[in-house]
C-alpha cells in the first residue's frame, strides 16, 4: 500500500512538472485587460475598435518575445493602472492583497483559541 501511494505521488509530480509552459497565451493576456471605451468588459470580450487595436499590439509583443509582465507594464505606462485587471503589488495595494489573508489567519486563530480554552477546562 505504502509503495503504491509513493508511486502515485511520483506520477502526479511528473505530470505537474510537464505542465510548465513557456508560451504566453494571448487570450490570458487579453482577458486581464480592461476595454477602456466599454462598460466593464475585458479586451478579449469586446469587439470595439480600441480592443481590436490592443489585440494586434499584444500579438505583436508576444511575437517579439515579451513576457506577460512586460506587456502589462507597457500598457500601464500608456494608459494607467486602470487598464489591467490585476492590481500590482505595491505599498498601497498590499492592503488589498494581504487583508483577506489577515482575516483568514485571525479567523483561524479565534477558532483555535475557542477550542483550546474549552480543552483546558
Amino acid at each position: 500500500m505504502k509503495k503504491l501511494i509513493i508511486l502515485f505521488y511520483f506520477l502526479i509530480s511528473t505530470a505537474v512538472v510537464s505542465t510548465e509552459k513557456n508560451l504566453v497565451d494571448i487570450n490570458d493576456v487579453l482577458k486581464n485587460l480592461r476595454c477602456l471605451v466599454c462598460q466593464g468588459q475585458s479586451v478579449a470580450d469586446s469587439n470595439s475598435d480600441f480592443s481590436q487595436t490592443i489585440k494586434l499590439v499584444v500579438q505583436d509583443q508576444i511575437n517579439e518575445g515579451k513576457t506577460e509582465k512586460q506587456i502589462y507594464k507597457f500598457l500601464k505606462e500608456k494608459y494607467g493602472d486602470w487598464i489591467v485587471y490585476n492590481p500590482s503589488f505595491n505599498m498601497i495595494n498590499s492592503i488589498l492583497w494581504l487583508f483577506p489573508y489577515l482575516v483568514f489567519l485571525v479567523g483561524g486563530a479565534l477558532i483555535f483559541l475557542l477550542l483550546k480554552k474549552r480543552d483546558y477546562r
Partner: protein, 174 residues
C-alpha cells in the same frame, strides 16, 4: 469598558466607509487618461504619410511645443475641430503633427483638400497600432508635448474654443 471601546471603533469604521462612499458618488465613474499628463513619451515610431520615412523621438524634439492630433476622414467630430487646428497653424511656437488613424489614403487626402491642411507634418497609422504608444483610445484625440517629450495636456474628443485658448496660453507663456 472594553466593549465600549470596540463599539466606538466599529462605529467610526462604518462612518469612514460611508463617507468614502459618499464622496465616491460625486466622482466621475467614467475613466479618462488625464492622469497621464506629466509623463514622458518614449519609443515613438510613426510612418510618414506620403514619404518613406519614420517620425521618431528626435523629430518631436525639434520644436518647443508639439501638438499631435489623431484624426480620420470617417470621424465626424474630426470635422468639427478642424477649424481650430487651422487657427493653431499660425502659431510660431507650435508644431502640428497630424496622425491619420485607420484610414484610406484617398479619403484622407480628400478630407484635407476640402477643409485645408493645418499640419506641419502628416503621419499615418493604418492599423492603429502606433497610436497605442501614445495612449490613444478613441479619436479625435490630441496631445500637447514640449521638447522634452513630456505630455503637458491631453485632449480626448474634439478640440473646442476653450482648448484653443488654453493651448495658445500655454505655448506663449513660457
Amino acid at each position: 469598558m472594553k466593549i465600549k471601546l470596540v463599539k466606538y471603533i466599529v462605529v467610526i469604521f462604518f462612518l469612514f466607509v460611508i463617507s468614502v462612499f459618499f464622496i465616491g458618488l460625486k466622482k466621475d465613474s467614467i475613466y479618462n487618461t488625464q492622469g497621464l499628463v506629466g509623463q514622458k513619451l518614449t519609443e515613438i515610431r510613426i510612418d510618414h504619410f506620403s514619404e518613406k520615412k519614420i517620425i521618431n523621438d528626435e523629430d518631436l524634439k525639434k520644436s518647443k511645443f508639439t501638438l499631435i492630433n489623431f484624426w480620420a476622414s470617417w470621424c465626424g467630430p474630426c470635422r468639427e475641430e478642424h477649424s481650430f487646428l487651422i487657427k493653431l497653424n499660425e502659431e510660431k511656437n507650435l508644431r502640428l503633427i497630424g496622425v491619420n488613424f485607420k484610414d484610406k489614403k484617398n479619403n484622407a487626402l480628400k478630407f484635407l483638400n476640402e477643409l485645408g491642411n493645418p499640419y506641419d507634418d502628416l503621419a499615418k497609422d493604418e492599423l492603429g497600432k502606433h497610436s497605442i504608444g501614445f495612449g490613444i483610445y478613441g479619436i479625435p484625440e490630441s496631445i500637447l508635448i514640449n521638447n522634452n517629450l513630456i505630455i503637458i495636456k491631453k485632449f480626448v474628443g474634439p478640440l473646442n474654443e476653450n482648448d484653443l485658448n488654453l493651448i495658445k496660453e500655454t505655448i506663449n507663456s513660457k
